[in-house]
């Protein structure tokens, strides 16, 4: 009762602490959401590509990070291995794409439109029908001012943009799709195949399939392993800075609540001293400040979460290449962290209260 009254009789202070926590929670949620957005984007291609495992060059265990080259013999023989229902070849190559003075990373995927492995959702246009055609990521194309029917230059060849794909931006650029033949020409590597997207027959034994592929001199890697390895790669790049920013936001939240509760406690020092003289124990007084911090933190977390979800929508509408994903689990973690904020923020005021001498209230 006292905690709530102390807060509500001082609305500016309450507002300040709630706003402080809200800002910190918004920051944390957007950062964490951005991180999971990056992760989701990083696995989007593999999530949508056919098959459940990939045949890759021996030793290659990630999809985006390393180039894989399969020997033609492997490509031929995997398709006829027992237990393989389908093996869809793709060629992948990371290139730097420059247009209108703007450089971007582009992850080129060569595929056979008849077999799969291409864009899974087109915002406009169609899939490439000839080796002179390409499908670009819609967002990246928009940023470069490229539309359907435009010609773009990749490496030393001109390609016509015939389609715009959706959901194909990722952490270091965007994806683009052309026919395998186009990549063979671009890269001057006829017969080049990077991966096979393998669909095993129902009931096929994966270990024996792995052994069989291995005996051909290549590796069969489950999609989940590739995705995990891509994430690990990403984590090396992103987790430290994002973690640091989250930590800073967290500390800001603690500082704001802590400062507000601390000043209000110091201001009411005499009142608390009188309460002690009357017989309130330290525990009862801790409860008052901790409850104040808790109310502020929870209100802050609640409004912060709402703001973050609104902000997430706004950010993605404004900059579609940023994918921010705030899921229920993140919300729960953040709610818990706001409780932690409250607990830490009430430590200093609690100490101040513990040091209060009850007899002090009689001294003027």
């Amino acid at each position: 009762m006292l905690a709530w009254r102390n807060l509500s009789r001082d609305p500016i202070r309450l507002l300040l602490s709630v706003a402080g926590v809200a800002v910190s929670i918004v920051l944390i949620l957007l950062l964490v959401g951005y991180r999971s957005g990056i992760y989701a984007q990083a696995s989007a291609y593999l999530d949508h590509a056919p098959g459940s495992a990939l045949v890759a060059e021996r030793g290659v265990a990630d999809f985006f990070g390393t180039t894989s080259t399969l020997e033609p013999r492997v490509v031929e023989q995997v398709a006829s291995l027992p237990g393989v229902a389908a093996a869809v070849p793709i060629v992948t190559q990371f290139v730097v794409f420059e247009e209108h003075g703007r450089k971007d990373g582009m992850f080129l995927v060569g595929y056979d439109p008849a077999k799969g492995g291409g864009p899974w959702r087109l915002a406009a246009g169609r899939e490439p029908a000839t080796d002179e055609e390409i499908v670009l990521d819609g967002v990246a194309a928009g940023q470069h001012g490229i539309g359907l029917g435009d010609r773009i230059r990749i490496l030393d060849r001109d390609l016509a943009v015939v389609g715009l794909s959706e959901d194909t931006t990722f952490w270091s650029g965007s994806m683009a799709f052309a026919r395998i033949g186009a990549l063979e020409t671009l890269l001057r590597a006829p017969g080049l195949r990077s991966f096979l997207l393998v669909t095993p027959t129902p009931g096929a034994s994966l270990p024996s399939l792995t052994t069989a592929v291995s005996s051909l001199g290549a590796d069969l890697v489950p999609k989940s392993t590739l995705i995990a390895n891509d994430r690990r790669l990403l984590a090396r790049v992103y987790d430290a800075p994002i973690g640091l920013m989250v930590a800073i936001a967290f500390v800001i939240g603690i500082l704001v609540v802590g400062l507000v509760i601390y000043t209000s406690t110091v201001e009411r020092r005499r009142e608390y001293g009188a309460l002690k003289a009357i017989g309130a124990g330290n525990r009862a007084l801790y409860r008052v400040v901790a409850t104040q911090a808790l109310i502020a933190a929870l209100l802050g977390a609640g409004s912060g979460a709402v703001l973050a979800v609104v902000g997430e929508r706004a950010l993605m509408a404004w900059r579609p290449q940023f994918r921010v994903e705030i899921d229920a689990a993140t919300l729960v973690v953040v709610l818990a962290s706001s409780l932690l904020m409250a607990a830490i923020a009430s430590l200093v005021p609690a100490r101040a209260l513990a040091g209060l001498e009850p007899a002090e209230v009689l001294r003027s």
Binding site: M1, L2, R5, N6, S8, R9, D10, R268, R270, E271, G273, A274, L275, K276, A277, I278, G279, A280, G281, A284, E357, P358, A359, V361, L362, R363, S364
Partner: protein, 294 residues
């Protein structure tokens, strides 16, 4: 059952070494239920310190405090809050009500601290405030109350847990004289009607008459009250041996200074010490026209 708060040989020393202060020295006192004890003395004489020791807020450096035979000065720190909460009621000079709570909640909170359920605490607080004439003010915040009303809320707060002893430090210092008298009458009623012990610290001479017993503290020690007198002009307490005196109509008067005596006699007639003591109707006239004179 009658309760007794007794202190024996109580000494309180603040600090160590050269800068140490002995605020209370070897004081012995006791107060019975239904009794109003007034502790008087000059500023810095150790009154508040003594009151804190009596109310288990401060631990004496030496000596014991016993409440109904229990040596509360020997209790470990963690056992003290419940003693303060249930056995003592404190009334402060500057009220110290919680600014964020209404009068009713200020009183009820203390009952809740003692484990009373919210509804019951509010009900009892309401009753108590009504008895103290504050029925109309229960929902007011302290800021909306007058000084006298605030102090009555504080008295209700001190009474809510049915303590055996009420301790008040300068309860009227921030009040005008009519409110001060009202508070003193209330405190006396608490002692007489509820059978509590009431200990009041004050240097307000106006309230001497409500006390059953007055003790004088000076330099941390109790002095024989018989040797103390009140200057009729400035109201200060003065020791007989150090006072400037005036024999008047067979009555001996004591003043803190020649100035006060001169003022008492009136400056018209020149320096006071050269004049013979006034007697008769003129002297009583002087008394009648002086508002400060009791």
């Amino acid at each position: 059952m009658t309760t007794t708060l007794a202190i024996r040989g109580v000494t309180k020393q603040f600090g160590h070494g050269a800068t140490s202060v002995e605020a209370v020295r070897g004081v012995g006192l006791s107060v019975e239920s239904g009794e109003v004890l007034l502790i008087m003395g000059p500023s810095g004489s150790g009154k508040s310190t003594l009151l804190s020791i009596m109310g288990a807020l401060l631990r004496p450096t030496a000596g014991t405090v016993t409440l109904n035979g229990v040596a509360i000065s020997q209790l470990p720190e963690r056992d003290l809050p419940p003693v303060r909460l249930r056995e003592f009621g404190f009334v402060f000079q500057d009220f110290n009500l919680l600014a964020a709570l209404s009068a009713l909640e200020n009183v009820a909170l203390v009952a809740e601290l003692a484990g009373t359920a919210r509804a019951e605490a509010l009900r009892r607080a309401g009753e108590l405030l009504t008895e103290l004439g504050l029925a109309e003010r229960v929902a007011f915040l302290p800021d909306q109350l007058s000084g006298g009303e605030k102090q009555r809320v504080a008295i209700a707060r001190a009474l809510i847990n049915d303590p055996s002893v009420i301790l008040a430090d300068e309860p009227t210092a921030n009040l005008d004289s009519s409110n001060g008298h009202e508070i003193m009458r209330t405190l006396r009623a608490v002692a007489k009607e509820r059978g509590r012990s009431v200990v009041i610290v004050s240097h307000d001479q106006r309230i001497r008459d409500i006390a059953d017993r007055v003790v004088w503290l000076e330099d941390g020690q109790l002095r024989d009250l018989m040797t103390m007198a009140v200057d009729p002009v400035c109201g200060m307490s003065v020791e007989h041996d150090r006072a400037v005196t005036l024999e008047q109509g067979g009555e001996l008067r004591f003043f803190c200074s020649r100035g006060c005596r001169a003022e008492f006699l009136g400056e018209l007639d020149g320096p006071a010490e050269t004049r013979p003591a006034r007697t008769g109707p003129l002297a009583s006239l002087f008394q009648a026209v002086r508002p400060k004179t009791p």
